[in-house]
Structure formats: structure tokens, C-alpha cells
């Protein structure tokens, strides 16, 4: 199968993620959309790796996964503490950048 198709898929996933980040208020959903975008990038990296015949892209993908995992930890912690104090997970409620 032509690897370019994977790139199209990655672009599609990225667009879905970006749209979600922009239009959804719920922090959890925004968060999942961010993950979606990250994974879209991963897909693109792997596809490029295949196209160029070296492993650089795959290595970067692993890095991204590690960073994403760390981000999940911090992000979820923030969302949980936000939810505890406000009983809502809307990102717009936190516009003052403080609890």
C-alpha cells in the first residue's frame, strides 16, 4: 500500500484533534483531542520513517509517546484538582489561570 495514504490519514486525524481542541469545552475531551493530534504526528513520523527507509522517525515516535505519557500524568492531575474545586471540567471556567 502506498505510504502516502498513511500521511493522509495522519492529516485527517490531526484535523479532527485540532477541531476538537478548538470547539469542545470539556477538559477531558480537549485532552483526548490533544492525544489524538499527538498520535496523528506519530503516525506521520512512522510513515516518513518507512518512506525514507531509516529509523529516525520511529525513534522520534517513541519519544513522543514518552512525553505524551508524562503529559497525561500532569494534565489529568490538573483536571482532577480543577474538577474538585469547581465541580465542572469546563476549560472556559479556568480563564483566570488560577483555582
Amino acid at each position: 500500500m502506498n505510504p502516502v495514504n498513511y500521511l493522509y490519514l495522519a492529516a485527517l486525524l490531526f484535523t479532527i484533534g485540532a477541531t476538537g481542541v478548538l470547539i469542545r469545552r470539556n477538559a477531558i475531551v480537549v485532552f483526548m483531542c490533544v492525544e489524538l493530534m499527538l498520535n496523528a504526528c506519530n503516525l506521520a513520523f512512522v510513515a516518513f520513517s518507512r518512506m525514507h527507509g531509516n529509523l529516525d522517525g520511529q525513534i522520534i515516535a517513541f519519544f513522543t509517546m514518552v512525553v505524551a505519557a508524562a503529559e497525561v500524568v500532569v494534565g489529568l492531575a490538573i483536571i482532577v484538582s480543577l474538577f474538585r474545586s469547581r465541580h465542572s471540567a469546563s476549560v472556559d471556567d479556568a480563564s483566570l489561570m488560577k483555582l
Binding site: A18, V21, L22, I23, R25, V30, V91, D92, A94, S95, L96, M97
Partner: protein, 646 residues
């Protein structure tokens, strides 16, 4: 021998330093220390004088270089002295009269709690004045020039608690500073023209400079001289300077400091000789001041201010003579020396009278004092005869020569100048006779002393009893002795100088000398002078001797009223300079705040406004940030692609 020169300056300088830094523990004998050091300076001067007499006329000058003062690339100023006949004359006059006035001040300032400081300032003045006349270059001369200005400032304002004294002191300093601009620029011009401002080299290089430059230098020097010597148009400070203690008026504002301008012109004679246009201006300034001072002197009722007007007028004579060139320099200096004697004597006499009359200065409240103060009367009287040029006394010899030299200028100028000097002699006789009659003759017009004012409670008078009539008495020995010595000078100095033309021969190597040839005989001029002075004295006698003098001044003619106000010069200054200056500074202060600061603050405010608008973007909504981020990225990518495409 030349190593002694520095000591001339060092002795009074040491006195000033010790007295001013020494504190109260020197109060008891500080005045003696000051007097001894002034006398030391005179003794050193005398030693050097006799040493100088022992040498031939052309080898008399001595030089001493102490150290390099301002050594900078291309610019060399030394602390170096030059003692020639001209400087010697001044050294003896300054330290001699200075010492006498120190002695006089011991008595005069006896009851002033700040007497030590007064002597410190007097010593400072002597040091600066000696530096002025001993300097071998113009920059060092400038040092002394400003130094005497400082001493004059401190001494005029000695009774600082009186606002009038403080104002007078400030005025004197400021007007002198205007003159100092002239000296500064003259030095700069010399530097750019000759590359030096040391007397000798400058005078040797004169040929290489254009006449325009020389005229400019000479005019700038004249400006300086006008400031220091109270010549029109910078004369306005001298009358106010009489706020200082009387010994100060005698020493600084009559005998020595105010004559520094004449010294400057004479010292720079070589430059003036090469700048005839400037010389003409000098003569005009001298002639105008001569009449100006004399007219002012006629109208003043304050004895010291009348004498101040007279000082101005007499210095006008000297400046006029100096402006005449080699015909006049010698006589300018000769008149300067004799004037130093008789004017100092007159001021000391005036101080003695004031001392006796509860510090009253209004001559209309004197009268009939000759019986009560015989020594003062006689010495003052001799000074009076000398200043009006009574034949045989000092003033006669020197003034007569100046009148002759004025006529000898030749042509219409000669006649005009001669007439002015003759007229001046007549007016001098008039106002001095007036002073004499109002003070020592006629009825007693004494007034009770005014109630002591809280602000003026430290006047130097011994017995100041408010509400009582004064008890005139002769002054103590320390005051009368200097007056007697000066009276001797007033009587005999002129004759001594003129005997065998000794003074002319003495100064000739420095200033050069040419015999003038007046269009009429010398005898005619002398006779005319005597006639004119008799007329002047006669008018004064008719007005003030035969009729009683009213205690309150009559309104007087327009001229009299103008003359009482120094011919409106102060009013002019006030309206144009003081008021105008105030408006200028006030509007500038306003502009600085509103315009200069405003423009900068306005810029800051507009930056602030921009940031206020930008701040609205920072609303805290994470999704709008995300949108701008995506938008920005999209724009960047699009831009990159477009650039590639191109």
C-alpha cells in the same frame, strides 16, 4: 631673592587658612595674627623693593616659577610669578594700605563676635589680590581675579543677617561674573591666536596676529576691567557694595580691588597699543564713567555711597588715561596710587564718623562734627583737599597730568576729552565740598538712634542706645593712626612721585612713556583746572555752607532724583534682567514639565495604550490561545510554501 615672591602671597594665605579653619579658639588673638601676616607681606614687599632699586632699570624684573598648574597636551599654565616695577607698585600699595586697614579694623570690628572671620576674609583678599598682580600669565591672573571677587563677596555680605547686604554681595559677584566672561574669552582668544597666554610670549608675538583679533582680545579685556572696576555699563554693583563694613569699602572698593581693571589694561598695554579701535572704546568708557560717577556722587546723601560714586569717577579718570596709550599709562597708575591713599583715608574717616554716630550714614543727620572729632576732621579734610586736586597735594599732581594727557590726544577728540576731564574735576570739587560741609560744618542735625532691630542686632557699634542722641567722640588710636598715615600719603605722595619725574622713570621700562603735546600750554591747563575746582567748590559752599541743610532731602530736580537712583541703571536692570529672567526661568520650568517631559511621557502613554489593547487578547481562554496558535502556524506554513513557490 626671587624666591621671596611666593612668600608675599603665602603669608596672608596662611593667615586666611588658619583663621577660617581654626575655629573659635582663635577668637581672642586671631585679629592680631591676621594683622601680623599682612604686615609680614608688606615687609617682604619692602625688602624686594629696595633690592629692586639696587638694579638697573631694565634688569629689575624678577621671575619665579613654582610648579606646572594645568599641564595638558598643547596647553601650559604655570603657577609662576613676575615681579616688575608695575607689580611692585601694586604690591606695596596693596600690602601697605592693607596692613593699615587691618590695624584700623582691630578697633572698628572690636565688638563684632565674628571678628576673627572678618580678618580671615581680609587676609584671603590680600592673598588673592597679590596673586592677581604677581601672576605671570593671564590664567593665574584670572585665579586672583576671581579670588578677589570671592573675598569681596564674602566681605560685602559680612553682615549676612541683613538681607540688603546678602543681596548686594550676590549682585557684586554676578556683575563681576559678567565681566569675567570677557576675561575668559580673552584668554581663549590668546590661546587660539598665540598658543599661550603668558605675558612675555604673548606680547612678543603680537605682530603675527591680525588687528581684528587684537581688537577682540582688547575689548574682552576691557569688559573684564569694566566689571571689576565698576565702569559703565557694569558699574551698578559698587554703590550697593557699601553694605559691607567700612574698612572693606576702604580697602577693596576704593583703594585696591576696584583698580584691578586699570592694572589689567596697563599690564596688557602692548595689546591695547596694537588695537587702536579698542583703545578708543576704553577712552569713551572712562569718560562716560567719570561723569556718571561724579553725577551720582552729587546726589547721594549716604556718605559711603557718595564716596562710592566718587571712586567710580576717579577710576574713570584712570581708565581714560590708560586708554590714551603710552602717554597715559604712567599717570593712570600714579593716580591709582595717590587715589589709593586719599580714598582709603576718606573711607576710614567716614567709618570713624559712622562709628561715632551710631552707624548713621545719612549726611543730613550729621553736621558740626569738626569740634568733636578733630583728628578725623583733619585727616578727612586733607583727603578732601587731595581728591579735589588742591594744588600741591597728591591728587593735584596725578589728575593734572591726566587732564594734560587728555588734551594731548590731539584733534577734536583731545578737546572733548580735555573738556570732560576738566568738567569732572569741577564736579568732583562740588560733591566733595558738599560731603565735607554736610558732615563737619553747619549745625548739628543729629537724630536719636533708631530702636534696635532684631535683625540687625550685631552692628559693630560700641554704645548703641536706642532713642538717645549720639555722643560723638574721637575714635581709638588703632583707628586714628592709620588715618594719619594715609593723610601723610594724601599730602606728599604726589609731590614725591612728580619730583624729578621719578614715577615716570620708575614705570617707563614696563609701560613705555611718550611725552604728550597738548595744544595749549601746561600752565594754561593747570590754571583752568584750579579755576574749575574753585567754581565747583564755590557752588557747593553757596548751596550747603551758607544755607542750613534740611534733614529730609528735598525732592530735587529730575536729574537729582535720577542720580539718587544711580541714574536709573538699577531700574533698567530690574525690569529687563531680573523680571525678564524670572519670566524666562518660570516658563522654562513649566515647559520642561509639560513639553519635554510631556513628549516623553506621552510616548510612554501611547505605548501603554497599545499594551492595554494587546492585553485584551490575553483573556485566559485556553481555546482562543490555541486558535491563535493554529492560525499562526497556518500562516507560517503558508508563508514558507509561498516563498518556496517563488
Amino acid at each position: 631673592m626671587e624666591n621671596l615672591i611666593a612668600l608675599l602671597v603665602a603669608a596672608p594665605l596662611l593667615g586666611a587658612a588658619v583663621l577660617l579653619c581654626g575655629g573659635r579658639r582663635l577668637d581672642r588673638y586671631g585679629h592680631l595674627l591676621g594683622t601680623v601676616l599682612a604686615a609680614a607681606s608688606f615687609v617682604i614687599g619692602a625688602v624686594l623693593f629696595f633690592d629692586m632699586l639696587g638694579r638697573g632699570a631694565e634688569e629689575r624684573a624678577l621671575y619665579q616659577t613654582l610648579f606646572a598648574w594645568v599641564p595638558v597636551e598643547g596647553f601650559q599654565a604655570n603657577i609662576a610669578f613676575q615681579l616688575d616695577q608695575l607689580s611692585m607698585t601694586f604690591v606695596l600699595l596693596i600690602s601697605g594700605v592693607g596692613t593699615l586697614i587691618h590695624v584700623y579694623s582691630i578697633g572698628y570690628m572690636e565688638h563684632d563676635e565674628r571678628r576673627r572671620r572678618f580678618f580671615g576674609y581680609l587676609n584671603l583678599f590680600l592673598a588673592a589680590m597679590l596673586l592677581l598682580v604677581l601672576a605671570d600669565n593671564y590664567l593665574l591672573l584670572y585665579f586672583g581675579w576671581e579670588g578677589v571677587g570671592l573675598a569681596s563677596y564674602l566681605l560685602i555680605g559680612f553682615w549676612q543677617h541683613k538681607p540688603s547686604a546678602a543681596t548686594a554681595a550676590k549682585k557684586a559677584f554676578l556683575v563681576n561674573r559678567v565681566g569675567d566672561i570677557g576675561l575668559s574669552i580673552a584668554i581663549m582668544l590668546m590661546f587660539t591666536t598665540f598658543g599661550t597666554f603668558t605675558f612675555g610670549p604673548v606680547f612678543q608675538e603680537l605682530d603675527g596676529a591680525g588687528e581684528g583679533t587684537l581688537n577682540a582680545i582688547a575689548l574682552m579685556l576691557l569688559l573684564a576691567a569694566c566689571g571689576k572696576s565698576a565702569q559703565v555699563p557694569l558699574q551698578s554693583w559698587l554703590g550697593d557694595a557699601m553694605e559691607g563694613p567700612t574698612p572693606v569699602s576702604a580697602l577693596i572698593h576704593a583703594a585696591t580691588m576696584v583698580t584691578a581693571g586699570v592694572y589689567l589694561i596697563t599690564r596688557s598695554g602692548a595689546i591695547f597699543n596694537a588695537a587702536p579701535d579698542a583703545q578708543l572704546v576704553v577712552v569713551v568708557v572712562g569718560a562716560v564713567t567719570l561723569l556718571f560717577g561724579a553725577i551720582v556722587g552729587c546726589a547721594k546723601d549716604d556718605i559711603k555711597k557718595a564716596l562710592a560714586g566718587s571712586t567710580m569717577s576717579q577710576i574713570g579718570y584712570m581708565v581714560l588715561a590708560a586708554g590714551l596709550g603710552p602717554i597715559g599709562y604712567v599717570f593712570a597708575i600714579m593716580h591709582l596710587v595717590t587715589h589709593g591713599f586719599f580714598k582709603a583715608g576718606l573711607f576710614l574717616g567716614a567709618g570713624s564718623v559712622m562709628h561715632a554716630m551710631n552707624d548713621e550714614v545719612d549726611m543730613r543727620k550729621y553736621g558740626g562734627l569738626r569740634k568733636y572729632m578733630p583728628v578725623t576732621f583733619v585727616t578727612f579734610g586733607l583727603g578732601y583737599l587731595a581728591i579735589i586736586g588742591f594744588p600741591g597735594l597728591s591728587g593735584f599732581w596725578s589728575k593734572d597730568k591726566i587732564i594734560e594727557a587728555a588734551f594731548a590726544k590731539g584733534g577734536a577728540e583731545g578737546w572733548i576729552l580735555g573738556a570732560v576731564t576738566l568738567l569732572g574735576a569741577g564736579i568732583t570739587a562740588y560733591y566733595m565740598t558738599r560731603v565735607m560741609l554736610m558732615t563737619f560744618f553747619g549745625e548739628k542735625r543729629w537724630q536719636p538712634a533708631p530702636a534696635a532691630d532684631a535683625a540687625t542686632d550685631v552692628e559693630p557699634s560700641a554704645d548703641h542706645h536706642p532713642g538717645e542722641l549720639p555722643h560723638p567722640h574721637e575714635s581709638p588710636k588703632s583707628m586714628t593712626v592709620p588715618m594719619i598715615v594715609l593723610a601723610f600719603g594724601s599730602v606728599f605722595a604726589g609731590a614725591l612721585f612728580s619730583f624729578n619725574s621719578s614715577f615716570v622713570h620708575w614705570l617707563e621700562p614696563v609701560t613705555r612713556f611718550e611725552h604728550g603735546h597738548p595744544p595749549v600750554g601746561a600752565a594754561v591747563i593747570t590754571t583752568a583746572t584750579v579755576v574749575v575746582l574753585l567754581i565747583g567748590a564755590g557752588i557747593a559752599y553757596a548751596q550747603y555752607g551758607r544755607k542750613p541743610v534740611p534733614v529730609t532731602a528735598p525732592r530735587g530736580s529730575l536729574l537729582t532724583r535720577a542720580a539718587r537712583r544711580d541714574l536709573l541703571q538699577d531700574d533698567f536692570n530690574h525690569v529687563v534682567l531680573v523680571r525678564g529672567g524670572e519670566h524666562l526661568t518660570r516658563s522654562l520650568v513649566y515647559l520642561d514639565h509639560s513639553l519635554v517631559d510631556g513628549v516623553v511621557n506621552g510616548t510612554a502613554a501611547s505605548v501603554g495604550g497599545l499594551s492595554g489593547r494587546l492585553r485584551k487578547l490575553q483573556n485566559g481562554f485556553a481555546r482562543s490561545y490555541a486558535l491563535s496558535m493554529f492560525g499562526g502556524t497556518a500562516v507560517l506554513i503558508a508563508a514558507t510554501l509561498l516563498m518556496r513557490g517563488v
